[in-house]
Amino acid sequence: MRILGIETSCDETGIAVYDEQQGLLSHQLYSQAKMHADYGGVVPELASRDHIRKIVPLIERCLADADTDKTQIDGIAYTSGPGLIGALLVGSTVARGLAFAWQKPVIGIHHMEGHLLAPMLEDTQAEFPFVALLVSGGHSLLVEVTAIGEYQLLGESIDDAVGEAFDKTAKIMGLDYPGGPRLAKLAEQGRPGRYKFPRPMTDRPGLDFSFSGLKTFAANTLRDSDQSAQTLADIAYAFQEAAVDTLVIKCKRALKQTGHKRLVIAGGVSANTFLRSQLDKLLTSLGGQVYYPRLEFCTDNGAMIAYAGLQRLKAGQADTNLKVRPRWPLTELEAL
């Protein structure tokens, strides 16, 4: 079975062809980040306009790169939520139009399920059950995964997503959008120990997160400082250390609570090298293993949507109606 995957939930147009036997045949990505940088964040209308300009040439390029004729495609998967409604509509309308013309099944995929399954695009795949930490600009979730579609929410952020806190703190510090990765880069120059940030919500039981206080703490620390280049790096270090430490503490709790030894991390923030090294240490100490997607599949991409679509279409699921779901709890998904 060979699937075309289409992702347009935010500011990246991602297209991929995934084959059940041969694996990933091609994936193409167009990022709008540069365009949105001038506005300090994603402008939804501009995102939709750019998706509809780029999507067809990107699909054509992807099919050519995968050496795939349209008759070889057995189904189409597109991101139907959560995300920006106008952006989601572009991918979903094109996917449905294509499916109609090709007379092939089509399925809307939950964006976070795509992320959650992204580590399955690698050679070493996590076996079920496992705990997944999904961390991006829009989400911070801890989920127990017992099978595809069987997701129990263990905890989530009650305010900002962790990636959002990275981006907002970076903005406060004068870094360009998207600032999260820039903040992490700056933290490499920072010195441990100069500032100590709180670890929100770790002093009480539970697996929920809160990250908006860390951003405020960073703003106050910056305001009361000399704002030198070294100070900025030190603040970046302390912020990242606190955010990552908070995630690590909650992951440890989640693994203990569920009794699982496998941890999957995915989403844009899973590209953070400090987070990766800290989780590696944690799982080594627990005798378990961490699974990550490769760096290019941490952020939004079509490959993870094609992969998730393959699993669901193979199980006989398909959509009959064109729907997008800007808000869509992961726990509402159908199990396979």
Binding site: I52, I55, V56, V90, V94, G97, A99, F100, A101, L322
Partner: protein
């Protein structure tokens, strides 16, 4: 004679039409916020009623706008998918032109001023003159503007027909500028007019590939703000 599939969701109306050498079938429904769920089933229904498949269509006409940004992108996105999947060429059709043509066809009035309420105190506007064969020229090119003084460029000695939501929202300010007969029956653009006008006027050079299918927003300056110095 060509076989045409036409789809439009540029305004509150969702519509689809098939025009073949022997048949003309169409569907039209005012269903705001349901276009993404209704358009494709509607396209399937008109093809079925005409007894043809997508492969038998010569080209696909889409309502390119102006109108609702999201609405325009729904038809555009679906037509991109249909055209890419079936290797069919496409043709973009203006929502303002389609309404003007519908009035000309129904009433025989040759000069039509079409206006769609563009919100934010503005209208999408075009004035079009048709000859008896249905060929047309623009008296006012498509634009977005305030309704005040919008019709200054028109020759006031002629009589005009008027059509579209803009004429209803700004009736007083527009009718005070010109002697125009507001059409009471036609309110929104529809795919049937687009198909008919395409049949009359489209040339092979106008046909576009799937990758070239694009919305015409007219309003390109929207209320987002760049960061200082960008």
């Amino acid at each position: 004679m060509k076989t045409i599939l036409a789809l439009d969701t540029s305004t509150e109306a969702c519509s689809a039409a098939v025009l073949t050498p022997t048949q003309f079938v169409s569907e039209f429904e005012v269903c705001p916020r349901e276009h993404n769920q209704k358009l494709l089933p509607m396209a399937e229904a008109v093809l079925q009623q005409a007894g043809i498949s997508l492969q038998e269509v010569d080209y696909i006409v889409y309502g390119q706008g102006p109108g609702s940004f999201t609405g325009v992108r729904i038809a555009t996105g679906i037509v991109q998918g249909l055209a890419l999947g079936s290797d069919k060429p496409t043709l973009g059709m203006s929502s303002l032109l389609a309404m003007a043509y519908a009035v000309f066809k129904k009433t025989g009035q040759t000069r039509v001023i079409a206006a769609i309420d563009a919100r934010m105190g503005e209208i999408y506007l075009a004035a079009i003159e048709f000859n008896e064969a249905g060929m047309f020229r623009y008296l006012i090119d498509e634009c977005v503007c305030a309704p005040e003084q919008a019709l200054d460029a028109l020759d006031k000695t002629h009589s005009y027909a008027a059509v579209g939501t803009g004429w209803h929202t700004y009736e007083t300010v527009l009718t005070s500028q010109i002697n125009a007969d507001i059409n009471a029956d036609i309110y929104l653009p529809d795919a049937a007019s687009m198909a008919e006008l395409a049949k009359l006027t489209a040339t092979p050079e106008q046909l576009l590939s799937a990758a070239e299918v694009s919305p015409v927003y007219i309003r390109d300056k929207v209320t987002w703000q760049k960061l200082p110095g960008k």
